[in-house]
Symmetry: C2
Subunit: 360 residues, 2 copies
Amino acid sequence: MKRQGFDALVALTPDNVTYTAGVLIPSHVVNRFRRTISILAGDNFSAQIVVNVEENLAREFSRFSNIHSYNQFTENPSDLLADLLEDAGLSSGRIAIELDFMPAMDYVRLIERLPQATFDHARDIYFHVRMTKTDEEIERLTEVGVMTETVIAEILDGIHPGETEKEVGARIANKMLRLGADHVRYHVGSGVRSGITNCDPTDKVIEKNDVLRIEVLGDYNNYRSNVTRTAVVGKPTQEQKDIWAVLIEAKEKCESILRPGIQIPDLYQTYVNACRSGGIEPTLNFLGHGIGLTIHEEPYITDTRKYPLGPNMTHTMEPLFMIPGKMGFHVEDMYRITNSGFSRITGELLPNHDLIEIEV
Amino acid sequence: MKRQGFDALVALTPDNVTYTAGVLIPSHVVNRFRRTISILAGDNFSAQIVVNVEENLAREFSRFSNIHSYNQFTENPSDLLADLLEDAGLSSGRIAIELDFMPAMDYVRLIERLPQATFDHARDIYFHVRMTKTDEEIERLTEVGVMTETVIAEILDGIHPGETEKEVGARIANKMLRLGADHVRYHVGSGVRSGITNCDPTDKVIEKNDVLRIEVLGDYNNYRSNVTRTAVVGKPTQEQKDIWAVLIEAKEKCESILRPGIQIPDLYQTYVNACRSGGIEPTLNFLGHGIGLTIHEEPYITDTRKYPLGPNMTHTMEPLFMIPGKMGFHVEDMYRITNSGFSRITGELLPNHDLIEIEV
């Protein structure tokens, strides 16, 4: 913040406020009328704004001792934010704030209240510090990642034709939550529905010869997992085996160059080239994404991220190829960049070199 | 929209885009870098903007036939929105847009692109039309409400001391998802944790004499439920019975005047007065909230909503009293206003006139 010449750093997203305050305020996530805001200014001023319903929780668990609450029905949190920035002596300060998330009406109110202040994006400051994980963060990501891979392995082991996608989903949730996850989301797509990228499960019955794609997104102690496996119910066709072989070869080529210092566009291009030389065009315009307090964060593995990977960055790689209306293939694991190469957060328990076959 | 003199109505929230398009785009909810936008202009122009990853899904399921996609890494959806508003002949139009949700940077870009246009809040237009439900919406709310109350009844029937809050949560999720829910969230607070308003379950073991508060928020076919029950593990104390009697009397007084035409502040004040004459001060500054595509929507039952309830409005009432650090009491059911009074969406299956006792 200081290096970039800012006098204050203001967060409004659940993830960045959680990163700063050390606690997630639950209604922050589920109720868009409620805001929570963290403010860091200079060396000595910090404060958190919460809706009054959550004041007790914040006072008990937040790293901030300076907690201010507002009435959701009668007060504008931007007024409280402006008051606090004034208290911090920043009426004409240079303030980094999450302009990519702060609602337009709150911003309009803030610049009305502080016409002498200047505002710029806080996004890159937060992404930069969050991209490199601490040991504790890596431990939490490992816990939730391993939990997730374990559950997918158990689920695939127990699939039988005749179950619906939603029944499989209910089993995933039950296993994840029993292992301690705080929340879980998942995609379960079978048959032609495996060809929908983000496919919420339905009452469709899983049948013999279906391609089955299961993606699980866990949330444990505020850290996230994202693991995906594709299986065939029965024996794969030659076409299915061929597509899978291309995706796995692309993934393994990327793993062979995955180390600190590699430029992200080079990693992405390696993936694209390997897919194309195998005769398929990748469906997504990214190979993976950073993972931490949010499912998607930096580093996104795309040709638009022109910087190198570094030690203790954590991200996924997720080769994906969809034939809409027919079937889809997708494998996703979580990686940690080490000092000399990488380690697998997931990918050891449930190998996927060959397309997984479910015995029927 | 026309009655208020607007040339276009633009939505960006998951709920209002879903209301307009008839389909929820999954990554819209979980990934804040992805936007989807719906545009209605005049009688003849409509369009939906989605991230390219979701284009196939939108083309298959959206009510809109005019689907435009953008690249999340290289394009700004506000540019696409500006292009479409220009196509609709609205470069100097009067546009209602969700300023309470649209990120500040997107708004700044939009007014740069369309300097002759004027923008105002879309919020109240959407709230107004969404507040009165169609028969189909009421059917969906009833399905998810009854499912939720059924699950809470089964769970309370099976509680035993020694289980953790998280284990109870896993059972709630499993039952809800097996009954068809698409997603579920819940609060489980026992002992002193029952006194935290939004209490995510922890590894705390449920013990004899704990107050146990269970709140379940279901999501089925995009419609939401919100049902809460409080129980005592064993026999309640006189203090607990007395507090409960005050909350229930307040609730029953409110039910006795619940009908179309009642002014919302009068309903709220009836609640507050009944609590105070029983010697307790309500913890929340609202008695309940509208429920539909979102858990919280209009009508919020507060003294700030100076309009009457009308037929086919759906809302909760949730008398709540917390003694932080000690215990908390909370009952919440879903109501529909009818032509002459109200009907219970929930509250029949699991009566709560007396504080529920769990046999140990």
